[in-house]
Symmetry: D2
Subunit: 309 residues, 4 copies
C-alpha cells in the first residue's frame, strides 16, 4: 500500500477511535437471517485517492455483504448498455418512503421512483436478463473489472437466506410485473436480484470498485472508460438524491457526498476527482443505514471541510 | 460590468438562442392572477463568477417575481439565528409529492419534509416572526445585504393577488397549526409568507444575492460572513435534494448543481467556489419549474462539463 | 310518557346497569376545551317507538352537545332542497380514514367522500348558505320541526370554544375551497358549521328528532312528510356505511342499525318502521365514538335479536 | 317451480326489458383472458323467496363465473369454524380503495381491511387450509350443501387463466406473508383462491346458495342451521359495508340491500327474511361491478319500495 497524505490518515484514525468508543444506537439487520450472524462490533474504514494513495483502519480488509450498494454496479452495467433509454422504465426521484414500500408503485403505475429502492433494482435486474447472455457471470465479471481483482464473489448462502424470507421482494416484483414493467419471469428476476445483493467485499475492495465514479468514468489506475463522463455524473447525482432511502436528504445535509449504503452496514461515498471512502459497521439506525458509518462520514467531511457543496 | 472569460459568454449566448428558438412546451402559472399577466416570451440569463466577472443576456435586468426562490433567503436568516435547533421543526428530506401537498404532513404530525415546500416555508416564516422585532423590514434588509443593493422590494400587488386566492396556503398553515408547529396566528404567518414570495429581482440581482452560497457563506465582493461554511454547505445540500419540488432528482440528474426554482419562472443555481447562474422564463413545465430555464441549465452544464458531481 | 312494552324496558334497564358497572376504557374528547368539562360518568338511554311508546333511563333528559350527529339534520335540510343534485358535490362512500383526514380530498379533487366526515359537512353548510335566507335561524327552525319542540338551541359557548381551536377545520374548509367546492367565504361556512355542531339535546329529544328517519320521512306523531321515502332510505344507508367514521363497518357488524355518533358521546340509531334509540356517555373509544354507547347498543340488538340484517 | 306472487314477476319482467334495451356503458373484464370470452349481451335475473316461490327471466339458468361472490361462501365456512377469533386476522371496515390495492396493507401491517377485498379473501383461504383436511373438496361440499345440488363446480380453465395473469394477487399474498398474516405457502393459498373464484353457477343456483343469509342462517327449504343468527347478520352487515369494493356506499345508497358482486358480472343481494335476488350481466362499470346488474337492482328496490333501510 502506498503511503498517503499523513494528515488525512491522522484525521481518519482520530475519528475512527472516537466513533468506535461512543455508544452505538444502531442494531444489526434481523430480516435476513444470515446477516444477523455478523459480529456487531466490526468496524472498518478505507479511503482510496485518485493519485494512488490509500489508507485503511480497523476491519477494512474483512469482507462483508454489500447488499444494496451493489445496485449502483448493476445500474452502471445496464446504463452502459441501454443509455438514456433506461429511464423510460425507471425514474430518478427520491421516494419519500421506505426502501421496500409498494405505495408509490401503485400511483406511478409500476415505474419505480429510482433505481436504488428495491423496486428499481428489480427492474434493472430484469433489464440485465434481457441484454446479457449469462447475466450472473457477466455481472460478476463487470464487478471484477471495476475492482481490479477476481477475489470478489456472490455469497450463495446469503442469497439463499434472503430468498427464503423474501416475501416482500416477491410481492414487489409481481406487483411491478402486474403493471408490465418486468418482462421476464419474476422468479428469474428475483434470483439475479438476490445474487446481486449477496456480493461480498471488504472496505478496501469497495473503495477501488467505486473508483470509476470519482474518476470521470474510468477505472482507477487504468485509463479504461467504463462510463462516459455524463453518465458518471448522473449516477453520482442519483446516489446523492436517492442513495440512502428516506435518509438521502439527511446524508446530503450532514455528509455532503454522493454515496450508497446497504443493510449489511456498508457505506461508500466519493468526492469527485479526489477520493472514494468506504465504511463498514453492521449496526443500523432506524432508517436502515449504518449508525457508525453515518457518524464517521459526517465527522470526516466536517473535519476536512471537503464536500461537493 | 467587468469582462469575463469570453468562452463562457459565447457558450451562454449560443445556448440562449438555441433554447429561445425551440418550441417551449411550458405554460405560465395561472393560479396567481397577477403572475399570469407576465409576457410569456421573456427570457434572461445572468452569471456571476466569484472572481468578479459576470455576463448577462436577454431580459436579465428585468425584475420578476422570484416566488419560492425567496424561501432560501428566509431559511438562511432563520438558520443564522437558530442554528441547528431549527431542524426540530423541519426535516431535510425530499417530499416525493407536489409542492403544496398536505398528505405527508398528516403522517409526519405537522413537521414539514423540508424548508422549500410551502409547508416548510410557512414554518420558517413563523420562526422569523418569533425571532425578529420587525420581520418584514428585517427580512428585506437581510436581502438587501446579500444583494448589495436596496433596489429590491416586495410587490404588494403580487402579495395581495396571491393572498386572495391562497386557500391552499391557508389550509396548509392551519393544518400545521393544528399539530402545534405554527406558534403565531396563521394570518400573521401567511402575511409574511406572501410578502416573502412577492420579492422581485432581476436575474442579475438574483445571481449576486445568492453569491454567498457559492462563496463559503460570505457576501460576494465583501469579506463579510453571513453563514458559517458548514451552514452554507448544508443549505446547498437541501437545495440539491429539495429545491425543485418533485423534480429535484431530475434537476440533480440533468443539471448537477444545487439550485432553487420559483413559479414566476426563475431558477438560480450555483457551482460552489465558482459561480452563480440565474435564468428567467415564465413558462413552466408540468412540475412547476421553468421549461426553458431547466433546458438552458442542462445544456449549459453539459457544454461546460462543470457540475458538482 | 306512555307506558311501553315492559319487556324492552326491562332489557334496556338490565343492559344499562351492566354497562354502567363495567369499566369504561374510553376518554372524554379533549380537543374542544368546553367539551372536556362534562362529567365523564354521565350515561343516559332513551328509546322512542313509532307507536308512541317510549322509555328512558339514567341521564336521558340532560342536554349534551350532539356534535356530528347534527350533520344528519343539515344534510336532510340540504337534500330536501336540492334533491339528488347534491351528490355532484359530495360522494356517499366510506372514507377508510379518520374523520378529519385531508388525504383523500387531495386525490378526490375536493369532493368529500361522504356528508358525515368534517369535509362533507362543511360542503353541506356551504350549500345551506346558498339556499337559505337566514341559514342559522332556518336550520334551527328545521330542527325544532323535527323535534316537535323549540327547547333546542345552539350553544354559543361550545361553538366559540371549537372555533378557537378549530385549525384543522379551517384547513379542511380552505383546502376544499382551493378545489372550488366551497362557494362562500370559508369564515362564513365555518361559523355555520360550528353552530351546527354545537346543538344541544337530551337523549329524549334526540330520539324524537330522528323519528322521521324511522318513519318513512314523516315527523313522529304528525303526518307531515319531511323527506320522501326514497330520500329517507338513502340517508339511512349513508348513516349505515359512513356514520361512525372509520368504525362504520364495525358498528354495522356489531349493532346492525343505521346510526350516527358525535364526539360529545352521543349516538342515535334506528330500526326502520319500529324505533329510534339514543345513548349518551361522554367517554370515547380511540376511534372517537362513545365507548359505553357502542357497548350498550351492541348488547341491545343482540338481546332483542332485532337489526336490519 | 312454484308459482309466485304475480306482481313481483311483472315488475321484474318490466325492469328486465327496460334495462336490457337501454345502452350499457359497461365493459367486459379483460384482465382474466378466459372471462373476456363471454357473450357481453348475456343478462339473467332470478329471485327466490323464503316461502318457496321463485321467478327467473333471461339467461337465469346459464352458468357464469361467480368470482368474488364466492368470497362470501369461503368466509362463511371459515367463520363457522373459527367464530369471532377470525377477526384477529381480518378487519370489517370498508377500504376506500380498489379491490386489489396494496396501500392500506402497508399501514395496517398486513391485516386486510375486510374479507371481501382480495387481500382479505386470501387470508380466509389461508385459514381454510389450516382448518380443513382437504380444503378444495370440503369447500365445494360446503357450497353443494348451501345450494342443495352437486351440479356446481370449479372451472379449472378459469382458475388456470387467472393464475397465469395473477401477478397482482401473487404480490398481495406475498406482501401479507411478509407481515406474517399468511401461515401457509403463498402458492398453496393462491391455488385455493383461484379455485374459489372460478366457481360457476347460474343466477338460479346463486339465489338458492345464498338463501341461508336471508333465512337466519338456515339452508332454504331445510331446517338445518349453517350459521348462527348472529353470525348471519354479521356477514350481511359486512356485505352491506364492503361487498362492492369502492362502490359499497353507492350500492347501499341506491339499492339498499346487503349483497356481493363479482367481476364475472354477477350480483347477489338479499332482503332478510324475504328473498334472495341474483343478476348476471358481464359488462362492468368502472368500479368493477355489473353495469346492468346495478341498474336492475336499483330500479327493482325502488319499484317495490322494499329495502333494509
Amino acid at each position: 500500500m502506498q503511503v498517503m497524505n499523513s494528515q488525512i490518515a491522522d484525521i481518519i484514525t482520530q475519528i475512527f477511535y472516537k466513533v468506535k468508543n461512543e455508544e452505538s444506537l444502531g442494531e444489526i439487520a434481523k430480516y435476513i437471517p444470515e446477516l444477523s450472524n455478523v459480529d456487531a462490533e466490526k468496524f472498518g474504514v478505507h479511503i482510496a485517492f485518485l493519485n494512488g494513495e490509500s489508507f485503511g483502519i480497523g476491519d477494512f480488509q474483512e469482507k462483508f455483504s454489500i447488499q444494496s450498494i451493489a445496485k449502483v454496479l448493476s445500474l452502471s452495467l445496464a446504463y452502459r448498455h441501454l443509455g438514456e433509454r433506461i429511464w423510460t422504465r425507471l425514474d430518478v426521484e427520491p421516494s419519500g418512503n421506505a426502501f421496500n414500500s409498494l405505495i408509490q408503485l401503485e400511483s406511478d403505475k409500476g415505474i419505480p421512483r429510482n433505481p436504488f429502492i428495491n423496486a428499481g433494482a428489480l427492474v434493472v435486474c430484469d433489464i440485465l436478463i434481457d441484454i446479457l447472455q449469462n447475466p450472473k457471470e457477466e455481472l460478476l465479471s463487470f464487478i471484477w473489472q471495476f475492482a481490479g481483482t477476481k477475489s470478489i464473489n456472490y455469497s450463495l448462502r446469503i442469497a439463499k437466506s434472503e430468498k427464503q424470507t423474501g416475501f416482500r421482494n416477491i410481492a414487489l416484483c409481481n406487483f411491478i410485473k402486474s403493471f408490465g414493467n418486468i418482462k421476464n419471469s419474476p422468479e428469474e428476476v428475483l434470483d439475479l436480484y438476490y445474487l446481486l445483493c449477496s456480493v461480498e467485499m471488504s472496505c478496501e475492495e469497495l473503495s477501488y470498485t467505486f473508483g470509476f465514479l470519482a474518476n470521470k468514468g474510468k477505472i482507477l489506475g487504468a485509463d479504461q472508460e467504463i462510463l462516459s463522463l455524463s453518465k458518471t455524473k448522473r449516477i453520482n447525482a442519483v446516489m446523492q438524491t436517492c442513495g440512502f432511502y428516506d435518509e438521502s436528504g439527511e446524508f446530503a445535509f450532514r455528509v455532503g457526498l454522493p454515496g450508497k449504503s446497504g443493510v449489511g452496514g456498508g457505506i461508500v461515498a466519493l468526492m469527485p476527482n479526489q477520493y472514494v471512502v468506504s465504511v463498514w459497521s453492521p449496526q443500523l439506525n432506524e432508517k436502515g443505514n449504518s449508525f457508525r458509518g453515518m457518524k464517521f462520514l459526517e465527522e470526516f467531511t466536517t473535519a476536512t471541510n471537503v464536500s461537493i457543496f
